[in-house]
């Protein structure tokens, strides 16, 4: 059997992806499910698995090669299979990112990549977009920047005047042509709106060990232009698509976290059980609340509102140079301990660039916790096509009026951003009320 290995489409916005590194060599045997390569997408680095077994007969797109989604990048087959036809059908021309030493490359993948440059690629270090001459690959094509961008003359001109990179835009004109309004939409969104979807587990140190607070020396240059990483470009492209067309509204609630805090302390004192974070409690509370109120677990589909009966929750994770929202599936069917273990694993692998394809899409709801940054409250931008996102602030000790007395209590603010096309104010408020109640009666999270 011949199995084509294609560049996967990992998100709606993804148009192309880059092979960071093949983890199998040509001629190496492969079983279905083996991780065979690492791919860099506009959002993150992911590993791809073999769908069929045999031998990795041919690597079509070498390490560093960038191709549109759906394009053949390799062929797995039995040694006796004739793969000539499949290989011949592969589109010619593999673009490589400008300079293999491009600024974006997170994680260990960079090291491994660098350690094996000799396999195929010879990289020109000239400042001009470089070409990668890959031994086995078809004729190398110019980098994406050199390709023709389909844009109207006016769009090109406005983009040039305002410094918008047309390559990052998706055209809405005839045949996908970039027209004026596409550029203007981006420009209108340019003064960055409030916090985008935000991190769960920050790379920043915990508040307990406060780092030195040194102000760095004033740089000699007045400014510097940092090229957009593909992740930053994806954020820049996707979020205006939310804030623009999706009519957001926000509801905020204040939660008494005293009992949840105690419960968490007790759980974390138990030996052999996974450490539970505030986020995990919030995930569990949201999952249960979503089951009670599926109207919030919904997505605007143009002609219909799709209501989900599974709570797949996206959890924003901060990364160096961006963020990513891996998806914790079926949260409503998982006990707290499992949620805690899986969310930790997801966050760690997100930071290590080791997420699987299927872990990047399919969320029905998202949570963004900025609590570890001493943020009291904020509102997040919905990640389309989801219908809502919960922004969670810090758990703070505050004076609380309680039966005529002032005492110190732990409070946490959370703000639900809702797509008004799907969710109405009262529905959003009821959901928030449920989440609040679950957190304030936290034993409910355990049953």
């Amino acid at each position: 059997m011949i199995t084509k290995v294609l560049m996967p489409k990992l998100s709606e916005a993804m148009e192309s992806g880059k092979v960071i590194k093949w983890l199998k060599r040509e001629g190496e045997p492969v079983k279905g499910g083996d991780v065979i390569a690492e791919i860099e997408t506009d959002k993150a680095n992911v590993e791809i698995e073999a769908f069929g077994g045999g031998v990795l007969r041919k690597i079509i797109v070498p390490d560093g090669g960038q191709v549109p989604v759906g394009q053949l990048i390799g062929v797995i087959a039995e040694p006796a299979d004739d793969i000539g036809g499949v290989v011949a059908d592969a589109p010619k021309g593999v673009a490589t990112a400008p300079g293999a030493a491009a600024p974006v490359r997170l994680l260990p993948a960079e090291e491994t990549y660098r350690s094996t440059p000799a396999t195929t690629a010879v990289v020109s270090m000239s400042p001009e977009p470089s070409r990668v001459h890959a031994g086995a690959s078809p004729a190398a094509a110019p980098p994406p920047g050199a390709g023709r961008v389909k844009a109207s003359p006016l769009a090109k001109k406005i983009a040039a005047q305002s410094g918008v990179d047309l390559r990052l835009l998706q055209g809405t004109g005839p045949g996908g042509r970039i027209v004026r309004r596409d550029v203007e939409t981006v420009l209108a969104a340019a003064p960055a709106p409030p916090a985008p979807v935000t991190p769960l587990a920050p790379p920043a140190p915990p508040a307990a060990a406060r780092p030195a607070f040194a102000v760095p020396p004033r740089p000699a240059v007045e400014f510097e232009d940092i090229p957009l990483t593909s992740m930053r470009a994806a954020i820049a492209k996707r979020l205006p698509l939310s804030k623009g067309p999706v009519p957001h509204f926000y509801v905020t609630s204040d939660v008494a976290m005293d009992r949840a805090w105690e419960l968490r302390t007790e759980l974390n004192a138990l030996e052999g059980s996974p450490k539970v974070s505030v986020t995990d409690l919030v995930i569990r509370a949201c999952a249960l609340a979503l089951r009670r109120l599926p109207a919030v677990n919904a997505s605007f589909q143009g002609q219909a509102v799709r209501v989900y009966h599974r709570a797949h929750i996206g959890i924003a994770v901060a990364l160096e140079g961006g963020l990513i929202t891996p998806v914790l599936r079926d949260c409503d069917a998982k006990p707290l301990a499992q949620i805690a273990a899986e969310s930790r694993d997801l966050a760690e692998r997100a930071r290590g660039g080791k997420l699987r394809v299927q872990e990047l899409s399919g969320a029905t709801f998202s949570i963004s916790n900025l609590g570890m940054f001493d943020v009291e409250e904020f509102s997040a931008i919905i990640n389309p096509p989801e219908g809502a996102i919960l922004a969670v602030g810090s758990v703070l000790e505050k004076p609380v009026a309680d039966g005529g007395q002032i005492r110190v209590g732990r409070r946490m603010k959370m703000t639900l951003s809702c797509d008004h096309r799907v969710i109405d104010g009262a529905t959003g408020a009821r959901f928030l009320q449920d989440v609040k109640r679950l957190l304030e009666e936290p034993l409910r999270l355990l049953v």
Binding site: S152, P153, L154, K157, R180
Partner: protein, 466 residues
């Protein structure tokens, strides 16, 4: 009543919107029936655009005869016969209307004569001379019932002494004197025609200038040229009463607070058109309307699913070419394609008087009012070789652009074949061309279109021929 005949699409009305949508539906493999209570082709082919263009051509020939000496031609006795001009325009209209019937046959579109009334979301009852029959629309009904001339409050159009454009294109006799109420495209075109045939014409306009939707400079230029030809133009004048008597019509007007009475043999009311939305069963089905026009989505669907409305009845510009564009959008949406909605900001506006007037996009004043910095380029036809050779050197072409980006915000033309030249800019705007793209396009010499190039150059401060 026989059982309902079934079609994918039933189109009510066969004017430019209706017949184009019917043909596009047929092209897309749908079975189509059309219903027409007048003549195929609607107002445009029968009583509007086409016959008036035939009359304007006669008027132009008459005026050329008057100028024969200028071209070195000595003519003996000649006579301009208005009745024959009307007859010619009827032959032209008949031929174009026959063309629609031919296109229907070619595309296997059924044409039913009679009044089509919606009896349900997908049911149209047709009552004609051969009785009543029902049409069932499997996919959609397209309403394209058009518009009819409006009048002023208290003014009754009898099509004898007080006529509308519909009466004017039929009347083989011309009056000795005529008051035209309304200096829009229709009023100005008829003023032109009648004046060429020696009628004493007075045009009244309530707004401060003729062709009030055009750029101010255009209005000024047209007013100057009309006045020079002996047409009386009175702007800022409101009509209070129109009274038909034995010896003609008296028109009471209020001009700057003073009341006066004008006398003429006939009055032509050209104050605009009103959508025909009544009597087609729309109310019973709850089809929503807004200020007299049917409310439609970008794909021309009304508030009732499966019922589409296009053309004059759907509002925006009441222009045949807009109706045609909407017809295509509706047909493609019904066929399940994803059509590009009509861009109402990019519909050319054309008046076929002499000289012609054409425009697209924003007027200079409006572009200025938008607050952006604009660049304006003008080029007079007196500096255009072709126009001078033709002896039609009156008018100008003006380009209004965004100074920073070179975006073509608006183009305004008064002059020979203005209505043909405008499309260079219509295409340019559709493609989002900038001033630079126009100037790097080689324009053949000598042509009237060189004025387009020169005005664009002028907007960049680079005009060569002026």
């Amino acid at each position: 009543m026989p059982p309902a005949q079934k079609f994918d699409v039933v189109v009510v009305g066969t004017g430019p919107g209706g017949y184009v949508s019917a043909i596009r539906c047929a092209q897309l493999g749908l079975s189509v029936a059309t219903v027409e209570d007048d003549r195929p082709g609607g107002v445009c082919l029968n009583w509007g655009c086409i016959p008036t263009k035939a009359l304007l051509r006669s008027a132009e020939v008459v005026s050329l005869f008057g100028r024969a000496a200028e071209f070195g031609i000595t003519v003996g006795e000649w006579k301009a016969d208005y009745a024959q001009a009307i007859q010619r325009s009827r032959r032209v209209a008949d031929r174009m209307a026959k063309g629609v019937e031919f296109l229907f046959r070619k595309n296997k579109i059924t044409l039913l004569r009679g009044r089509g009334v919606l009896k349900g979301r997908n049911l149209v009852e047709v009552t004609g001379q051969e009785g009543t029959q029902s049409l069932e629309a499997g996919r959609a009904v397209i309403l394209a019932t058009g518009s009819e001339p409006r009048s002023l409050p208290g003014v009754t159009i009898d099509e004898k002494a007080v006529i509308s454009s519909t009466g004017a294109v039929r009347n083989e006799t011309k009056p000795a004197s005529l008051v035209v109420i309304g200096a829009g495209a229709v009023g100005m075109e008829f003023a032109d025609i009648y004046a060429a045939y020696g009628v004493e014409v007075t045009v009244l306009e309530a707004l401060p200038r003729v062709l009030p939707i055009e750029d101010e400079e255009v209005s000024t230029q047209v007013a100057r040229l009309f006045t020079r030809r002996g047409i009386t133009l009175r702007t800022g004048v409101s009509v209070k009463a129109v009274t038909a008597g034995a010896s003609g019509v008296s028109v009471d007007v209020d001009a700057e607070g003073k009341t006066e009475t004008l006398q003429a043999e006939q009055v032509l009311v050209a104050v605009g058109r009103a959508a025909r939305t009544r009597g087609f069963g729309l109310e019973a089905l709850g089809v929503a309307t807004e200020r007299g026009f049917v409310t439609v989505s970008p794909t021309m669907e009304t508030s009732v699913k499966g019922i589409y409305a296009i053309g004059d009845m759907a509002g925006n510009q009441l222009l045949a070419h807009k109706a045609m564009a909407e017809g295509v959008v509706a047909a493609e949406a019904i066929a399940g394609l994803d059509p590009r909605p009509v861009d109402y900001g990019n519909v050319p506006s054309c008046t076929y008087c002499r000289p012609q007037v054409a425009s697209i996009g924003q007027s200079e004043a409006r572009a200025r009012a938008s607050g952006r910095e604009i660049a304006v380029g003008r080029f007079p036809f007196t500096a255009n070789g072709k126009a001078v050779a033709m002896g039609e050197a009156e008018g100008f072409l003006k380009v209004v652009a965004d100074k920073g980006s070179g975006e073509l915000l608006g183009v305004h033309i008064v002059g020979p074949e203005a209505t043909e030249i405008i499309h260079e800019f219509a295409v340019g705007r559709t493609l989002e061309a900038t001033l630079e793209d126009i100037i790097h396009t080689i324009h053949a010499h000598p042509t009237l279109s060189e004025a387009a190039l020169e005005a664009t150059l002028a907007a960049l401060g680079q005009a060569i021929h002026i």
